[in-house]
């Protein structure tokens, strides 16, 4: 096999994290069954590690406390080998600072905290809502990562009747369409809102019994009832509702 043409030749870009999207996934599939490529990537990674170490700096003050406080609350992934880990969360200590809670939320939900200035107000309200759900003594989480790369994570508080949901890894909806999140169960599916990329969505009225979350593609602005097929679905056990 020639290491300098075809898929093998992407070992350099791969070692530099310079592949993305479909090309990255394709190369990783190739890598899984190409021993010489694995060998080459391993060697090249040693070189990129030198580049990484040459960039070493000093972590800002305050970061240590935030991270160590968050770690006291944040549970670890339980079965590392399993492809679809479910998340668990201990009740957050009441005294934990808002910054720490936001950090925990970010870690759990894959939320990026930094936003552009003009979106800050809306997001502060959202960050507060997220922090409130997380800080609830009855906060619980569930989630799943699917083979196609999409993932759903839910943190809910039955006491508040609220939940924070993130759906990630979906392709953007076609022009003029939106992704809409639904809660299905007994009765008609209920809209929880429109998704904005990977942004967390606060479901303000998250009550029910066992059911499922589903995402569909709907005309711009959403529909009253789902018209499209579910792109992703997550079954919810009754305990997310506190039953």
């Amino acid at each position: 096999m020639n290491l300098f043409t075809g898929p093998h030749s992407l070992a350099g870009p791969y070692a530099l994290d310079a592949l993305d999207g479909r090309e990255l996934r394709r190369f990783e599939r190739h890598l899984a069954r190409c021993a010489p490529c694995q060998e080459q990537v391993r060697a090249l990674r040693t070189d990129t590690l030198r580049l990484a170490r040459a960039a070493s700096g000093t972590a800002p003050e305050g970061m240590r406390d935030r991270v160590l406080t968050a770690v006291r609350t944040l549970e670890q992934e339980r079965s590392p080998q399993r492809p679809a880990p479910r998340f668990t969360l201990r009740p957050a200590p009441v005294a934990a600072a808002a910054a720490t809670l936001a950090l925990i939320a970010a870690a759990l939900l894959g939320v990026q905290l930094t936003r552009t200035q003009d979106r800050l107000d809306r997001e502060q309200a959202q960050a507060r809502a997220i922090a409130q759900v997380l800080a609830a003594p009855d906060a619980r989480t569930t989630g799943e990562r699917f083979p196609d790369g999409s993932a759903v994570a839910v943190v809910s508080s039955p006491g508040l009747g609220r939940a924070v949901v993130t759906v990630s890894g979906l392709d953007a909806p076609p022009r003029g369409k939106d992704h809409q999140l639904w809660l299905t169960g007994a009765g008609n599916p209920r809209s929880l809102g429109l998704l904005d990329g990977d942004e967390p969505l606060v479901a303000w009225d998250f009550r029910g019994r066992a059911g499922a979350l589903a995402v569909t593609t709907e005309p711009d602005g959403g529909s009253l009832a789902p018209t499209g097929r579910p792109l992703v679905q997550l079954a919810l056990k009754s305990d997310v509702f506190g039953e």
């Binding site: 350099g12 530099l16 990674r45 040693t46 070189d47 960039a55 079965s79 970010a106």
Partner: protein, 181 residues
Amino acid sequence: MGADELLPRVAQGDQGAFEDLYGLVSGQVYGLVRRVLRDPAQSEEVAQEVLLELWRGAGRFDPERGSALAWILTLAHRRAVDRVRAARAASDREERVARRAQTPAFDHVAEEVEAGLEREWVRRCLDRLTALQRQSVTLAYYDGYTYREVAHRLSVPLGTVKTRMRDGLMRLRECLGGGLA
């Protein structure tokens, strides 16, 4: 204790081991993230997220596949690159390009952060690469561009960039003597 011993303890839920690990790697994680993202506030956030991911996902580390430090810094680099690409896609591509044109890729940060022996060696060795090798490697690794973007920015064919990335890294290895890591 080194990162290779600490990480498995962290995977067992040992918070003391995590504190020690934090002391060992937080500067390297933050420095690398900062090198890619430039913005201190964003860098701090991403570095924090990476450190928490270390805690949560320590069990995913497989010593068969490399050192703990390599695993940690690979994670940090990927998260930084994801963030910088998302930010670029969102907006300021043009502005960044303009800014980059005025700042040599490596020297800039070398001034910002404390000098180190290894940094000095890496810099010297980067200087020994051909211009195309050096630019291909640093635009990808330190600026988070995909190899397609690198090819576009340097106006060279994709195949050339792939090759320059690989042989640039290999030449770097020869120069650095393969020790450390």
